[in-house]
């Protein structure tokens, strides 16, 4: 965990430095003697640098860290990665396949991957979820969702 905390602190430190730099180089601090677009970002940048430095120092001084703070088993990693990539794929497919098919595919594949082996249950969950989504967003709230090349 120590390594992860150090990396996190360094990322935020870099972000803070970036904000300070842009407030000097890209955005004006004062505009007609009034606060300009770079005014608050400079203070926020300094605030972040200070906080990140404190975070880094406290992490370096800390001697004990919680064990198993991150899941260690491969199956958990795969499940997390699958749900993220599934979400990404569903989003990318919304415009191509339309909401109904994208949602059904996402639900069907994920439900199967996460352990459900009953084909009937998988189909039921996939189509049921798609129908509920269509009903709530398109019929009830009248929000147009992408219909894709198949037209639904």
């Amino acid at each position: 965990m120590k390594k992860a905390e150090i990396i996190t602190a360094l990322i935020f430190l870099a972000l803070g430095v970036y904000f300070i730099t842009t407030s000097y180089t890209t955005y004006q601090y004062l505009l007609d003697n009034k606060p300009g677009p770079g005014f608050l970002p400079r203070y926020i940048g300094w605030g972040m640098v200070t906080s990140a430095a404190l975070y880094l120092m406290s992490t370096l001084r800390q001697t004990s860290f919680p064990k198993n703070w991150f899941p260690t088993d491969r199956a958990a990693h795969l499940r997390i990665l699958t749900i993220i990539s599934g979400g990404l794929a569903m989003t990318l497919l919304l415009d191509i396949l339309g909401t109904f098919l994208s949602v059904a595919l996402f639900m069907g594949i994920l439900t199967w991957y996460l352990g459900n082996r009953s084909i009937l249950a998988i189909i039921g969950v996939a189509i049921g979820t798609s129908l509920v989504v269509q009903f709530i967003f398109i019929k009830w709230l009248m929000i147009p969702l992408p219909s894709g090349i198949l037209g639904f």
Partner: protein, 501 residues
């Protein structure tokens, strides 16, 4: 008298059929969401936000408020049945609730939790009714410096108290402020940190961020394990719900103590329902003649924290409605929701939109009564929800979150933002960096910048304006104390641990 009149007007709005229906739906959905382990009220409100987008703002807020206090109760269902609190505020309920379930008295625990939630919630709402308008009236005298100081205080209190470490809270706050800087600068017309992406000129919308931080991130955390824990389902039916009347009403002292502690802590920004329930449980144990029975299935151990966490959720609405400063993650999400509907909580809300403010307060009375009834009637349904397999539930939450995010502006970039913040939120969770200060900073950032600029224009660029006006000075001192005191407490605690070891 005027307050009661306004409340009656609010009740006439809250009691229209559509609003009662929405309060009922909100309460039931909230209880279901709250019952699911790990999915708290902030996630519930965030995930359901897009569904309210096309609604009348009053109806939408009634629905979301119902979800909020429904979830506060729902957390106790999983705490009692599977010893896995659905919400951190229900942790203390599990200490005595689960042993009661093991003794075959789960129904009694539910009824006590429901009755205590009702009493705590009602006490909190009555206090809210009288306190919020007075506070709002006082705050009407605020100018830009006072508003800026108030926002700084809101940010520092949440920063100092949310999570385990105030330093991590600070990181979260500054990250939120950085995100709030993205977009068109209203004074100069310059696009800041947009990198040529046109969609970013409008700034980063709070909704996809919240959907990611609370919706997607919770699912990712839930994916670490596919098990919920062992559930006790025996004797959870209407027949076994009610303890003896004498035993039930003997809890009145626990209710009073819990409700007072809960409300007082709930009003403080950042403290929240979790701290309230911890303190109420500890106080009840201290006052008890039989402290040894706590933790082994003692009804006051359920009554006090449940009264406290529902009173705290009403208390957290006081700074939100009266000052526009949320006191918890859920109220931070609610603040964003209000702004999404074009409403700005704070002193002007009571002056400019009394219809909305009073309907929102009145709906809480209605929702609280509905909650007490629904919980008893639908308890078998809530128990069934806990049997929903994770392999269906988790993908379902992702679908609702992502499609809901897309539906707001029909914009895929929002979905990408939700996914990115889902991963960030998950990492925050793992590193114990609180997400609530980020949300609050993102929502308050643009307003803070505007009031700061106005103040500095008034003072011709001098920061002394924040320290020479009495109210602004008091608020700035409070803001400083709210940040520094938790840091000192943490340093002392770590020193005493070192000395002890």
């Amino acid at each position: 008298m005027e307050t009661l009149q306004l409340l009656l007007q609010g009740l006439s709005t809250a009691l229209t059929p559509i609003n009662v229906l929405m309060a009922t739906i909100g309460v039931i959905l909230g209880a279901i969401i709250g019952a699911l382990p790990g999915i708290g009220s902030a996630t519930g409100v965030a995930v359901l936000l897009p569904i309210t987008y096309g609604m009348n703002p009053i109806t939408a807020v009634i629905l979301l408020a119902g979800v909020y206090y429904g979830a506060m109760y729902g957390g106790s269902i999983s705490a009692i049945l599977i010893n896995a609190p659905g919400d951190p505020a229900a942790v203390m309920t599990s200490l005595d609730g689960h042993p009661l379930a093991q003794q075959g008295r789960a129904g009694h625990a539910f009824t006590v939790a429901s009755g205590s939630s009702f009493i705590g919630g009602t006490f909190g709402i009555i206090m809210l009714t009288f306190l919020a308008p007075s506070l709002a009236r006082w705050a009407l005298n605020f100018g830009p410096p006072e508003y800026f100081a108030l926002m700084v205080m809101g940010l520092t209190t949440l920063t100092g108290l949310a999570g385990d470490s105030p330093i991590k809270g600070l990181i979260s706050t500054f990250f939120g402020l950085m995100l709030a800087m993205v977009g068109l600068d209203i004074v100069s017309g310059v696009g800041r940190y947009t990198y040529g992406v046109l969609e970013l000129l409008d700034g980063i919308d709070f909704l996809p961020v919240v959907m990611g931080l609370f919706g997607v991130a919770e699912v990712l955390a839930g994916m670490e394990s596919m098990a919920y824990g062992e559930m006790i389902t025996s004797k959870v039916g209407l027949r076994n719900m009610f303890p003896k009347a004498r035993e039930f009403f003997s809890l009145w002292k626990a209710w009073i103590r819990g409700a007072i502690i809960g409300f007082a802590i709930g009003v403080l920004p950042g403290a929240g329902a979790t701290m309230a329930s911890f303190m109420a449980y500890a106080t009840e144990k201290n006052f008890s003649r039989t402290p040894q029975r706590f933790g082994k299935g003692h009804l006051p151990g359920v009554a006090a924290p449940e009264a406290a966490n529902n009173a705290a959720s009403a208390g957290a609405m006081v700074p939100l409605l009266a000052l526009g400063i949320p006191g918890s993650a859920t109220t931070a999400v609610l603040l964003g929701a209000f702004m999404m509907y074009g409403l700005r909580p704070g002193p002007l809300l009571f002056a400019q939109r009394p219809d909305f403010a009073w309907a929102a307060i009145a709906s809480m009375y209605v929702g609280n009564i509905l909650l007490a009834i629904m919980i008893i009637v639908f308890i078998p349904l809530f128990v069934r929800v806990l049997l929903t397999p994770k392999n269906i539930l988790m993908p379902l939450i992702i679908v609702i979150t992502l499609v809901g995010t897309f539906s707001i502006r029909n914009n895929l970039i929002d979905v990408w933002i939700a996914l990115i913040f889902g991963v960030i939120g998950y990492l925050f969770k793992k590193l114990k960096i609180p997400a609530a200060p980020l949300v609050l900073a993102l929502v308050l950032g643009p307003l803070a910048e505007k009031t700061m600029r106005l103040s500095l224009m008034l003072s011709q660029g001098s920061f002394s304006i924040f320290f020479t006006r009495p109210i602004a000075l008091v608020l700035m001192i409070a803001a400083f104390a709210a940040l520094v005191i938790p840091i000192i407490i943490q340093l002392r605690a770590s020193r005493s641990v070192k000395n002890g070891s």
